[in-house]
């Protein structure tokens, strides 16, 4: 899963999608995940980074991560990997 190339993320947590004109806000953890996605990290690597930094259990994070990614899909901010 990759963030669409034209999505703009500001340092303060605002997201702009020039295709639709929609804007979004992120909370700090959401911001971090989106930035890691933009860097091109895979899900496992993102999960490892978050676990290292935040006080959260792996199972709990996994649930929220998938929920979050589901929302990104809903908002059409990400594109599936080519092989999918």
């Amino acid at each position: 899963m990759k963030l669409k190339k034209n999505i703009a993320i500001s340092e303060t947590g605002f997201v702009f999608d020039p295709t639709t004109g929609d804007s979004y806000t992120l909370n700090p953890v959401g911001m971090e995940i989106l930035s890691l996605l933009k860097e091109g990290l895979e899900l496992e690597a993102i999960s490892a980074r978050i676990l290292e930094k935040y006080d959260v259990e792996k199972g709990v994070l996994e649930r929220y991560l998938y929920d979050f990614l589901g929302l990104l899909k809903q908002y059409q901010l990400v594109e599936e990997d080519d092989e999918n």
Partner: protein, 453 residues
């Protein structure tokens, strides 16, 4: 010695929210619900740990304070005021006893409630028996106990006249009057109509029979009334009947009973403003009713006793429902759904209120458009349709405010069992006032035919 772990940052669920340029609100109301961490000084978390979840919590201090406020509003304007506690609003014995200690009579609407009031130590003469159905046995008991029987229809009036012939005591009664008070819908199902002359027919019948002590006039104009003018009109019309009785029969009634129906501060579904801003105060209701009575032709030294049966406005604020989040999920359109452990079977009022639900601890500044579901396997089990709600996770505690009225009487044992109710006394000590139901509670009423055993 172990290596000290690096301090980790507290985790909050990742969130992305679309910015919608919706209709601007000129009031800029806060959209983030502030948490309610404790109730009367006891933390919600500790109450849930001690008594289980979900849990109804009532505050004795709040019950007494609200009663005293209401009583003061009327007694400071009118010399003879009497409240009668509306049993159907909340007939947990502890709640009834608190109101009786404060000076309330009992207002009941069924044989069961009548028995409950007697068992709570209310003298028969201080029980008002309202409602459209009183069995012959109920009526007989009420006559023997000198209770105030509020006659609802002609069938009841004739039943009472019939009883009066065969009993040694004279029934003490009032008639229930319905009328146009300028509100919609007009409640015309209780009692005799004022405008079409039915109320006068009933009064004439009673006066001519000479078998019933006609002590009062009663009306119950509606529920969750947000306009005080309706009470003013109702009081004027009852006063008019009373003056008419005086002229025609030289009969002086002892009391005017204005019923209940005062709005509480809950917000009705579909209301634009929150109920806390729109509900009239006790002073507003008192001013409207008392000024109408004072303007009437009642002689100042012969004012009738003013009885009030308000229930909702006295008890709603004193009740909370606390519990825990069961799960979160996404709906098909991407909106968040949070499932809590209390459903509409416990919170009957969620069918007509947008209940004020809050987290019970400071969790997150972020909110998301959320639908809050109860735990029942029923599509209608919705506590809140749309609410900007913080990101609660499984196990986090919540509190629903203003649930004291009608829920502990209209709740259903449906799919889940009804939970405990605790009362926090004025010293901050908690007491169980109703046990949680168990399978045993239900099975006690059931019998299996032998061939099924």
């Amino acid at each position: 010695m172990k290596d000290k772990k690096m301090e980790k940052i507290p985790f909050e669920r990742p969130l992305i929210q679309k910015i919608n340029a919706g209709l601007p609100s000129k009031y800029g109301m806060i959209r983030r619900p502030e948490p309610i961490e404790d109730i009367e000084g006891i933390s919600v978390e500790s109450l849930l740990n001690e008594y289980g979840s979900p849990l109804f919590i009532l505050s004795e201090k709040m019950l007494r304070k609200t009663y005293q406020e209401a009583y003061r509003a009327f007694s400071s304007r009118y010399p003879k005021v009497q409240f009668a506690w509306s049993y159907k609003t909340n007939y947990l014995n502890a709640v009834c006893k608190i109101f009786h200690q404060e000076g309330s009579w009992a207002e009941v609407v069924s044989g069961f409630e009548y028995e409950k009031a007697l068992a709570n130590g209310v003298p028969g003469s201080k029980i008002i028996f309202n409602g459209p159905f009183k069995s012959r046995e109920d009526l007989k008991k009420a006559v023997e106990n000198d209770s105030l029987i509020h006659i609802d229809h002609f069938d009841e009036l004739y039943e009472l006249l019939d009883l009066a012939e065969n009993l040694e005591k004279r029934p003490k009664a009032a008639i229930r009057v319905n009328m146009d008070t300028g509100i919609y819908p007009q409640w015309d199902r209780f009692g005799f109509n004022y405008e079409n002359g039915e109320a006068w027919d009933a009064l004439n019948r009673i006066m001519i029979s000479k078998q019933i002590d006609l002590l009062g006039l009663h009306t119950h104009i509606g529920t969750y009334m947000m306009t005080v003018q309706a009470y003013e009109k109702a009081a004027m019309k009852l006063a008019d009947l009373a003056i008419g009785l005086e002229r025609k029969y030289k009969h002086t009634i002892k009391y005017i009973d204005m019923g209940g129906g005062f709005a509480s501060k809950n917000t009705l579904k579909g209301a634009y403003y929150p109920g806390s801003d729109t509900a009239p105060s006790f002073d507003d209701f008192a001013e409207a009713i008392v000024s109408a009575l004072m303007k009437s032709e009642f002689k100042p030294d012969h004012l009738p006793l003013l009885i009030l049966e308000t229930g909702r406005a006295l008890v709603d604020d004193a009740g909370w429902l606390a519990g825990r989040v069961v799960a979160n999920k996404r709906l098909a359109d991407g909106r968040r759904a949070t499932i809590i452990d209390a459903g509409v079977n416990l919170l009957f009022t969620s069918f007509w209120y947008d209940h004020d639900i809050r987290p019970a601890k400071q969790l997150s500044d972020q909110t998301e458009d959320t639908t809050i579901y109860g735990p029942l396997c029923m599509n209608i089990d919705i506590i809140r349709d749309h609410i900007q709600f913080p990101l609660l996770k499984k196990g986090d505690p919540y509190v629903i405010r203003r649930v004291g009225a009608y829920n502990n009487t209209q709740w259903l044992q449906f799919i889940t069992l009804r939970p405990r109710v605790v009362l926090i006394d004025p010293k901050g000590k908690s007491h169980i006032i109703r046990d949680g139901e168990t399978l045993e509670t239900l099975n006690r009423c059931e019998h299996l035919p032998e061939h099924l055993n």
